[in-house]
């Protein structure tokens, strides 16, 4: 099958156009909320109870809170963002772009490992469970999935720390380097990545397990599988070659919708493991009402979600020849 590149390009173009109003409304909404906020950014910046003189405060106020309605503030923010200037983080006292550049890589690493892990785990357990619907394995896997889905990731992360770092003492409880070391080596990175990535995988996997299980179980009752069995194709090929392939299609369409979940989960897991990613910056920004940083991170995550949706649609359109990309 040759990929219909013009149709792909048209879809990407249409989605880019559709993303513009979404991002406009999201960012404008943030400025509207901030305008209604009772906090004074100047007080936050100098810290409560500081002895800064009134002139200094006024000078700071001029720098920090531009005058005008929130629409005008939004417009000046937007123009500087388009020019590459994301503003100054009040909490971390660094340019926002620098904060993001330093951290986004670690977050992406964690998310990518956990995402791949949960897809693989989901496929494996989903197929195993669907093989005998209602069997003991199916019931064990399904109930475990429901339970894990109900469990908050931060709680799972804390329990994992207790078990693996404190009781068994096999993995570090958090951070990125061993105590007293500054450089990140591949070995220590792997050791420090293992626990957060595993917890994030475990908290994301149930969704995949349940969907793959349902998809494969349904596919096992359909004609192609019946035909394959009638031709004497081995059970393994039936399961992996026929049932899993068609059962994965509905999962593929919804993979993009997992991006917000992944970000949410990563936010909580990173916080527990003091992983040096976006999450700790988000929480610090939130506790100190650091609007420039929060605004940039929120806009960034909206972009990631939109990109995830687009990717899922593209994958689906390319994987299923019945779908016309032009109609999406």
């Amino acid at each position: 099958m040759s990929a219909p590149w013009p149709a792909v390009a048209r879809l990407v173009g249409r989605r880019l156009l559709a993303a513009v109003p979404v991002l406009v409304v999201v960012t404008l909404g943030m400025f509207a909320v901030a305008a209604a906020s009772p906090f004074d950014p100047v007080r936050r910046y100098v810290g409560d109870g500081s002895s800064a003189s009134q002139e200094t405060l006024d000078a700071l106020r001029e720098n920090l809170s531009p005058d005008g309605t929130f629409v005008e503030q939004w417009w000046s923010w937007l123009t500087s963002v388009l020019g590459g200037d994301l503003g100054q983080s009040l909490a971390l006292r660094q340019p926002v772009s620098q904060v993001i550049a330093e951290r986004v890589g670690w977050s992406l690493l964690l998310c990518a490992v956990a995402f791949v892990g949960s897809v693989l785990l989901g496929c494996a357990l989903g197929v195993l469970a669907a093989r005998r619907e209602g069997g003991w394995l199916d019931r064990a896997v399904s109930s475990l999935s429901y339970t894990l889905q109900a469990a908050p990731p931060f709680w799972l992360a804390l329990l994992a720390i207790w078990l693996f770092a404190l009781q068994l003492d096999v993995l570090p409880a958090g951070g990125l380097t061993e105590a007293g070391e500054d450089t990140v080596t591949a070995g220590s990175l792997l050791r420090h990545l293992a626990l957060p990535a595993a917890v994030l995988t475990i908290s994301q996997a149930p969704w995949f397990v349940l969907y793959v299980r349902q998809g494969v179980a349904d596919a096992l009752h359909e004609d192609p599988v019946r035909g394959a069995r009638a031709r004497g194709v081995s059970e393994r090929t039936v399961l992996l070659g026929h049932a899993l392939r068609s059962g994965l299609l509905p999962v593929l369409t919804l993979v993009g919708t997992r991006i917000p979940e992944l970000i949410t989960g990563a936010l909580l897991v990173e916080t527990v493991f003091s992983w040096p990613g976006i999450a700790s910056a988000t929480v610090r920004a939130a506790t100190s009402t650091d609007f420039p940083l929060l605004a940039a991170l929120t806009a960034l995550s909206a972009l990631a979600v939109l990109a995830g949706n687009l990717l899922a649609d593209l994958l689906y359109g390319l994987a299923d020849p019945r779908v016309d990309l032009n109609e999406m």
Binding site: F39, R139, A150, W162, N309
Partner: protein, 335 residues
């Protein structure tokens, strides 16, 4: 795409609209089988009679009664506990008993005590009370908002519908927890910002479900009959459409409670929700981090178990309810 999901629990394309224009029919068909919704075996026609009968009578059937009794009684127990316990065992949120700190679970303290010597069972019940209260109010706010906007989109259609659906897309583009963090950060951490943030982020799923339901109802003969009988727009909406969507909306509202509890505990855990000295399941887990790193597991374990058990029990009740609304669907836990 419907990412109406919020934390961990997906209730995905709850009922995919019959007439969503943006997607080709094949996509709709492929998306129909969704596990969390339990729309499965009964609806796959090509498999024939045999599979239909098997699905109805398969092994899951055996545990159905057990699950029903367990989830209803757990929800009832939780409701009784959060209503009655404060009347009999008042809790001083500030009280500290350093002689009894970090006692492991025993007969006297079934869940043990925390690092301030407070009984964890009592505190967990109070935490559940706060979390459920926030969850219920937030779910109510979100459901009313979703019901109103979904009805509006479905019943009016046209430009209003498109506008509202774009709004839904916009709200789903930002992860709910992040939006909650933003709202709480711009206001003060506390109960009301948390309720507002949950209500404002979670209405989209209800709006989608209600809109889909209204769209499919609009094509039914009884609506045509009402219109040709001279019923006004308002009357059609209030007497014919609204009562018919209420069961679905109610189901969505019940399912939203665990979402809201989850959301509240995550925000509180990050220190952005309920004030730290007040018992809520999230603040308790956050407060227990110190004792956990000293190796004491019980202050972390029990509040979290409360979240898991409550979520599963409410999901079980919602599953029973859905079976009543739509008996053709197989009973399955929904989260």
């Amino acid at each position: 795409m419907p990412p109406e999901v919020s934390p961990a629990m997906s209730e995905e394309p709850a009922r995919e609209p019959a007439g969503r224009e943006v997607r080709p029919a094949t996509v709709e068909a492929a998306r129909a089988p969704v596990p969390a919704q339990g729309a499965g075996s009964q609806e796959r026609s090509p498999a024939g009679e045999a599979s239909e009968w098997r699905a109805a009578g398969n092994a899951r059937r055996g545990t159905r009664r057990v699950r029903a009794v367990a989830s209803v009684s757990l929800v009832g127990l939780a409701a009784l506990a959060v209503l009655l316990v404060p009347a009999f065992f008042p809790l001083d949120q500030q009280a500290v008993d350093l002689t009894a700190k970090l006692l492991p679970p025993s007969v006297e303290h079934p869940f043990g005590t925390d690092d301030m010597g407070r009984d964890l069972l009592l505190r967990s019940v109070y935490g559940l009370r706060v979390s459920l209260l926030v969850g219920l109010v937030a779910a109510l706010v979100a459901s009313v908002l979703g019901l109103a906007l979904g009805c509006l989109a479905g019943a009016v259609g046209g430009r209003v519908d498109r506008l509202l659906m774009r709004l839904v897309d916009t709200f789903t583009a930002v992860p709910h927890l992040l939006m909650g963090i933003f709202i709480v950060a711009m206001f003060r951490p506390g109960v009301w910002p948390v309720v507002a943030s949950v209500g404002l982020t979670h209405w989209v799923s209800t709006a989608r479900i209600v809109r889909a339901e209204v769209l499919s109802l609009r094509a039914r003969p009884f609506v045509d009959a009402a219109i040709s009988g001279g019923a006004s727009r308002l009357r059609v909406a209030s007497r014919h459409l609204l009562p018919a969507v209420l069961p679905q909306a109610g189901l969505a509202a019940v399912l939203m409670v665990p979402h809201a509890v989850w959301h509240e505990s995550a925000l509180s855990f990050l220190g952005l929700g309920i004030p730290a000295h007040q018992a809520s399941l999230g603040t308790m887990i956050n407060g227990a981090r110190g004792s956990l790193s000293a190796g004491d597991w019980w202050p972390t374990l029990f509040p979290g178990l409360f979240i898991v058990v409550t979520t599963l029990a409410i999901a079980g009740v919602a599953g029973l309810w859905r079976e009543r609304i739509n008996p053709r669907r197989r009973s399955e836990l929904v989260l």
